[in-house]
């Protein structure tokens, strides 16, 4: 059988899978909407309209009446729990430890304004804990005292107040909201679920119903069956990923990098889906019951999703779990998408790492799936 035939036959299997997908389009789309809708709308908007009390720290280097009044104003806000700290170093270590989500540094010059120099600095961790919109409250309160506020983010060139890294994980940083952070993780998850339940899983039902036997008695090469299934799983993942992205964007998330960023996101989804669709082939080659497959698929994907930093940055993981996130391909998929969405740029060193790991992972599992399917299916 020529390579050309293998490829053309793959597209026949792909066509068949996509026709089946199309025949259940309404159900498939509804199913794909529910998951991101619930996560993004509910989890992504946690605290927007509710009384979430946020712990913040204040270091007062001004020690003048206006500074005290400013602190009192912050303390009078019901959404903030203000802790006055002795110095910046203590404050930064508490910020790093996650005890506070924002650290307000009142500079000695406050309330005087020198041209171009801020007199209030706010360090913040834009992470899971920061749900109470505390930065906006701090900034609006500071404006009442004509303060010149600068929100400090880690590693920014203007960060001269401290040499300390506030947070090592880059996913904390940037100007994006938690919602944008979450959307990146949700996109990865719906894409993986799309692969797991839209790719090779149908091999099990095909085998049970006799469809697989019908294919195998035709002159088709088994590789074509695998490739067709992987392609369809990847296409379905892309559809689900796009839906999740649109839901996120409609709800206020952003892609800082714009259209080119959206294309990078699609590329990341596609590469990740090829890998996970191949995993479905591996599972389906060894499993004959859909129920067992579903249990295993969930047992594999859910932990991978959680340790990938879908809900929270991987640096927040316990020390025993962190190494697992390093070998989790989803960590790199989520990372890549977040760079695009939150930073507006895709750092070349990071992109090489993320893409290389994802591509390497996908190629390895695809080759394993070819081998297992060819030997186990007859």
């Amino acid at each position: 059988m020529s390579k050309l035939n293998i490829i053309s036959d793959s597209f026949i299997i792909y066509k068949r899978e996509m026709l089946i997908f199309k025949s259940k389009l309404r159900t498939n789309i509804l199913r794909s909407i529910i998951f991101p809708l619930v996560l993004i709308l509910m989890l992504g908007n946690l605290g927007n309209n509710s009384a979430v009390i946020t712990n913040i720290g204040v270091v007062n280097y001004a020690s003048n009446p206006t500074a005290y009044k400013f602190i009192q104003s912050l303390q009078s806000n019901h959404d903030l729990n203000v802790k006055v700290m002795t110095n910046q170093k203590v404050g930064l270590s508490e910020l790093k430890a996650g005890d506070i989500t924002d650290l307000v540094i009142i500079s000695p010059t406050f309330p005087n304004i020198e041209s171009g120099t801020p007199n209030v600095y706010v360090y913040y961790a834009n992470n899971f804990a920061d749900l109470g919109d505390s930065i906006n409250i701090i900034e609006s309160t500071a404006e009442q005292y004509n303060a010149h506020v600068e929100a400090k983010v880690p590693n920014t060139p203007s960060d001269t107040a401290s040499n300390e890294e506030v947070v090592l994980d880059p996913t904390y940083a940037g100007n994006a909201s938690y919602k944008t952070f979450l959307v990146g993780g949700v996109i990865v998850m719906v894409a993986v679920f799309g692969s797991m339940f839209g790719g090779g899983m149908s091999i099990i039902t095909d085998r049970q119903l006799g469809n697989l036997k019908s294919f195998l008695i035709t002159p088709i090469d088994k590789v074509s069956i695998i490739m067709g299934k992987i392609l369809s799983g990847t296409t379905q993942s892309l559809i689900y990923g796009i839906i999740a992205l649109i839901i996120g964007l409609l709800d206020g998330a952003a892609i800082s990098m714009g259209i080119s960023g959206a294309l990078i996101i699609l590329a990341i989804i596609a590469i990740t889906s090829i890998g996970f669709s191949s995993i479905t082939i591996i599972l389906a080659s060894r499993i004959s019951k859909v129920e067992v497959y579903s249990i295993l698929a969930n047992a594999i994907t859910l932990p991978l999703w959680f340790i990938s930093g879908a809900f929270f940055p991987v640096s927040s993981l316990p020390s025993w779990l962190y190494p697992l996130s390093v070998v989790d391909p989803l960590t790199y998929a989520a990372n890549g998408i977040r760079y695009v969405m939150m930073y507006g740029y895709f750092p070349i060193s990071s992109s090489i790492t993320d893409f290389a790991i994802l591509i390497g992972f996908s190629i390895v599992v695809m080759l394993v799936s070819f081998r297992l399917f060819k030997t186990n299916i007859s």
Binding site: M1, N5, D9, I12, K15, R16, L19, I20, S23, K24, L209, G210, N211, K213, S214, F215, L216, I217, T218, P219, I220, S378
Partner: protein, 327 residues
């Protein structure tokens, strides 16, 4: 020089799975243009044999030749020349008949596929339903679609694996007519079935296979002649009295067999005179008789004689419908 009249020639075929021998030195031929029945209980090696003919598994030894060519040395060519319809209605329920046919037509790389699809839809009398979902069609329509789909590549031979399982009497009869029509068109057909009357009605020749070996082969009449030199006496009573009836038959030097409420015994031509005496004896013992008859042995009787069990008894999950047409 291969015999052109032989479509399929199986010689000394062996298939072992570890220490288990599923097919044991099996040999038979299917003539060009005939309907050949392969009968055997579950685990007889029937499915393994079919899978080897379909090139899904490789024989341990022996050969399978299709029109003189070894199929395992010409796999792709053989696949195009053999059609296969499984016992399940293996059509994609979410697709239309047209889509079902197109997908398989494309896999066989059929030129002018559109015309071939239209032709197949017409053959299956499904032209008016071509663009409806297959799931909306009746069982009979789905089976017709499965049949034309299995022949989309215009094979020389078709294997029908229990083609009428689960169909009602009307649809079964309709499918029989289609199978006979295929034979008239020159198609060679290898059929497996659990309905012995189906084999009796359709097959030119039948092979009974058990434990991976051929137990008997021939026409239905030849097989019946092999197992009996006379008729079968059959007495239907209630379960309570079957043992008593069996004892009476033994008194007349017959060898009774009990099947629920039916007692049967082979009876030779010379023993036919015993019939009235047996009847009188049964009545004298006040045994209720629901039916009493003599008939020629059926394929069911042949099967039991050759394999030690009824075909239907061994077919797990199959519909338990009475079989064995009386002739």
């Amino acid at each position: 020089m291969p015999d052109k009249n032989i479509a399929l020639k199986i010689e000394e075929l062996v298939k072992k799975f570890g220490n288990f021998t599923a097919v044991n030195n099996l040999s038979f031929e299917v003539k060009d243009g005939e309907i050949f029945g392969l009968l055997g209980p579950n685990g007889s090696g029937k499915t393994t044999t079919l899978n080897m003919i379909l090139t899904l598994i490789t024989p341990t030894s022996g050969s399978i030749k299709l029109y003189g060519k070894d199929i395992h040395q010409n796999i792709n060519e053989s696949k195009k020349e053999i059609g296969f319809m499984t016992q399940e209605t293996v059509i994609e329920q979410d697709l239309t008949p047209r889509e079902n046919l197109e997908i398989f037509g494309e896999l066989y790389h059929i030129p002018d596929l559109d015309n071939r699809v239209e032709e197949s839809l017409k053959d299956a009398e499904l032209s008016d339903f071509a663009d409806y979902k297959a799931s909306a069609m009746s069982g009979g329509m789905q089976r017709r679609l499965a049949l034309v789909r299995s022949m989309i590549q215009k094979p020389k031979m078709i294997i029908l694996d229990e083609p009428t399982t689960g169909l009602d009497v009307q649809n079964r009869s309709s499918l029989w007519d289609r199978i006979r029509k295929l034979k008239k068109q020159g198609m060679t057909i290898l059929i497996t079935t659990q309905y012995l009357e189906e084999a009796d009605a359709l097959c030119d020749r039948i092979a009974v296979i058990d434990h991976g070996r051929i137990k008997a082969i021939g026409t239905a009449s030849e097989l019946k002649a092999q197992v009996s030199t006379g008729d079968i006496l059959e007495i239907i009573t209630t379960i309570k009295y079957v043992e008593q009836v069996a004892q009476i038959l033994k008194k007349f030097d017959l060898k009774p067999e009990i099947k629920t409420d039916i007692v049967t015994a082979p009876i030779s031509k010379t023993e036919v005179i015993k019939f009235s005496d047996i009847t009188k004896e049964v009545i004298k013992n006040n045994i209720p008789i629901l039916g009493i008859s003599m008939h020629l042995p059926t394929l069911d009787d042949v099967f039991i004689k050759l394999t030690g069990s009824g075909l239907r008894d061994s077919a797990s999950g199959s519909p338990k419908i009475s079989i064995g047409a009386k002739k």
